[in-house]
């Protein structure tokens, strides 16, 4: 047992040279900084993020100074007969009175994507549609997060019978065919809510949009609840929590330093990945005529409307379709990047 013997030399203070071994090579990094660094190294995720920021900025800023409104029928001037030359304009074409103004030397803002069958500037409708789709995606995900977080946390925290009952309900909702239920609820809520919310704040939101949010709150929270319950159950039993407790850490410290950092990234990531899902569902419902109320456009309803004139005006389909695909793709890729960068369970 030669190795286990100690000599008095082992108890001498460390020399300066020995101390340098223990010095960190680089300044300590935080979980957030570390994740951000990984995220920025991920080219696909960074490009997606830049694209998304551009799309959001466009959807927010452009309507502020765009000379045309999304529901403004350009051929409709007060006190004048309807000017049909504004309907179905090709991209960068002008209506009759606009051509006269241009001939007179005036500058007229171009209709980049032309106009639709009612003479509304199509570009601004796409911009508004993007705005609506993004809003629906964002708020639906927040609703899913709130409901799922509450239910999941209650199930995970109380355990026992409460957990059992909640999880059986979750099992059943989970195995429901969600899209069919969404269609069913949306088609009923549309008529059932329509009259009741007229004139209230909710009324301006539109019965379809409201039913969409209700449907998300009622059905899509289950995977989030499962996730959060699982997180809470497993984190509670982790060795580092036990070790922290054994070292005398208080509950607040454990929650702040161990539970939240380990749980939050997973929750944020799955919320982020919920957004494209919601945009998908909204555009699908809009396409079936169950989405936002007219004249409000969403990308799905624009695509659905364009289907009628597909032979003559294919660009009206291509533009919103590309917009949805790009947004959903960018959100998915960014969400994946977020997960790769911030999920503590993944190996780097």
């Amino acid at each position: 047992m030669q190795e286990n013997e100690f000599s008095s030399e082992d108890f001498l203070p460390a020399t300066e040279e020995e101390k340098t071994y223990a010095a960190p090579d680089r300044p300590a990094t935080t979980f957030f900084k570390d994740g951000m660094k990984r995220l920025l190294q991920n080219k696909v995720a960074t490009v997606s993020a830049v694209l998304l920021i551009l799309v959001v900025l466009m959807a927010v800023i452009l309507p502020l100074f765009w000379p045309y409104g999304y529901s403004q029928m350009l051929g409709n001037r007060p006190g004048k007969p309807m000017d049909a030359s504004y309907n179905n304009l090709a991209p960068f074409a002008y209506g009759q009175s606009e051509i006269k103004r241009i001939e007179a030397g005036e500058k007229v803002f171009p209709h980049i994507f032309g106009t639709d069958a009612s003479g509304r500037d199509y570009f601004i409708r796409v911009v508004y549609g993007t705005r609506i789709s993004l809003l629906v995606g964002f708020f639906a995900s927040i609703i899913v997060l709130i409901v799922g977080l509450t239910v999941g946390a209650v199930a995970g925290y109380f355990g026992g019978k409460v957990d059992l009952v909640i999880m059986r309900i979750v099992d059943i909702i989970y195995s429901l065919p969600d899209t069919l239920m969404v269609i069913l609820l949306a088609s009923v809520l549309k008529t059932a809510l329509g009259a009741k919310i007229q004139g209230t704040v909710l009324g301006s939101l539109g019965s379809n949009m409201l039913s969409l949010f209700l449907v998300f709150a009622a059905l899509y929270w289950v995977s989030m609840a499962r996730l959060i319950r699982g997180q809470i159950l497993s984190l509670r039993e982790q060795e580092y929590v036990l070790s922290a407790r054994a070292s005398g850490a208080k509950a607040g410290w454990i929650i702040r330093k161990h539970l939240i950092p380990n749980c939050i990234s997973v929750v944020v990531i799955s919320t982020a990945l919920q957004i494209p899902n919601a945009i998908f569902t909204e555009s699908y419902l809009s396409f079936l005529g169950l989405g936002v109320n007219a004249p409000m456009p969403s990308l799905g309803s624009l695509a659905a409307e364009a289907l009628n004139g597909i032979h003559s005006y294919p660009h009206r389909l291509v533009v919103p379709a590309l917009a949805i695909s790009l947004i959903v793709l960018a959100l998915n890729l960014f969400g994946d990047g977020l997960r790769d960068a911030f999920d503590p369970k993944l190996k780097h």
Partner: protein
């Protein structure tokens, strides 16, 4: 089969049955929340006419009794009541008519997706990090992010409107080609990715190395030893795939004017044909729940490594 396996199977069947019951119940009570009741829609009727209609469809009876009747009719006679818009026909007849077309469409799409997906996925795994693999991955990523109605309208635009090589109408001969492709693209892309990752996993296993060492050649190695094991996760996707094809067919049949169950469903939504909406929702839900059950049980039966809970 061990007692544990039987217990698991029974539990899964019970959950499926419970889910179907929930679907029927939710459908029934949600439809009763419609102003004017499901059989009246939004038409303004005189009091007598309304009373007569209510009596005819049993709507004057207590809600729970109506519910019991509705449930009993479905379970014993598959009777979903009469269609409101298609006079003189029952919901069951209309659904059966559309189902013949939709089943052909959906099953063809599913078959194409499974075959193409597994082949492409295996191919990508073998050519890992080579050009072919990269191309396949980029293309499948794009397809996975594209809603079915967009894929459908693009295909319509390209092949039926611009090139005019395929018919846009799903009711004529050859008309099902575009709808089948539209429906198959997403599941194909998904199965390709699934097969690729599980094939990569399998190819790293010891038994593959052993087979290689014993001199098994490339094709036999991949398809005999590799694919047999790599295809397991694909089985779990069968249920979700049917769900995707069912919901996808709602819009795809709309786009290509296919006279199937999805088109009937969509037109019954816009026409507020509530008995039709209820019947179709229930039938399609039963289909999806059953397929989920089947693919789950199949997976258990095929893969002996899975421990039952």
């Amino acid at each position: 089969m061990s007692a544990k396996t039987v217990g698991y199977i029974l539990k899964r069947i019970a959950l499926a049955a419970l889910t179907v019951w929930v679907v029927i119940t939710v459908t029934f009570f949600v439809m009763r929340a419609v102003p004017g009741g499901p059989f009246l829609g939004e038409k303004a009727l005189t009091a007598e006419a309304e009373a007569a209609l209510n009596a005819k469809y049993g709507l004057d009876k207590p809600l729970l009794e109506q519910y019991a009747t509705y449930l009993r009719d479905i379970v014993t006679r598959l009777d979903f009541g009469p269609s409101l818009k298609q006079r003189g026909r029952t919901v069951a007849e209309v659904i059966l008519d559309g189902f013949r077309v939709s089943a052909k469409l959906g099953l063809t799409a599913a078959a194409i997706a499974i075959v193409t997906g597994t082949v492409l996925g295996s191919f990508a795994a073998i050519r890992r990090k080579k050009t072919a693999d990269k191309v396949i991955m980029v293309v499948t990523t794009a397809f996975v992010s594209m809603p079915s109605f967009i894929m459908g309208t693009f295909l319509l635009l390209i092949f039926a409107v611009e090139l005019m090589v395929l018919p846009a109408n799903g009711a004529v001969s050859g008309g099902l080609i575009l709808p089948v492709i539209t429906l198959a693209l997403y599941p194909t892309a998904y199965i390709t990715r699934l097969t690729r990752s599980s094939m990569l996993d399998v190819l790293g296993q010891d038994y593959i190395r052993t087979a290689k060492a014993k001199g098994v050649s490339g094709v036999k190695l991949i398809f005999g030893h590799g694919l047999k094991n790599a295809v397991l996760p694909v089985i779990t996707y069968l249920g979700p795939m049917i769900a995707y094809i069912v919901t996808g067919s709602l819009v795809v049949e709309q786009i290509f004017a296919v006279p199937g169950i999805g088109r009937t469903f969509v037109s019954s939504i816009s026409g507020r044909d509530y008995p039709m909406i209820m019947g179709t929702t229930i039938v399609l839900s039963v289909l999806i729940v059953t397929m989920n059950l089947v693919s789950d049980l199949l997976y258990q039966a095929v893969d002996h490594r899975i421990t039952l809970k």
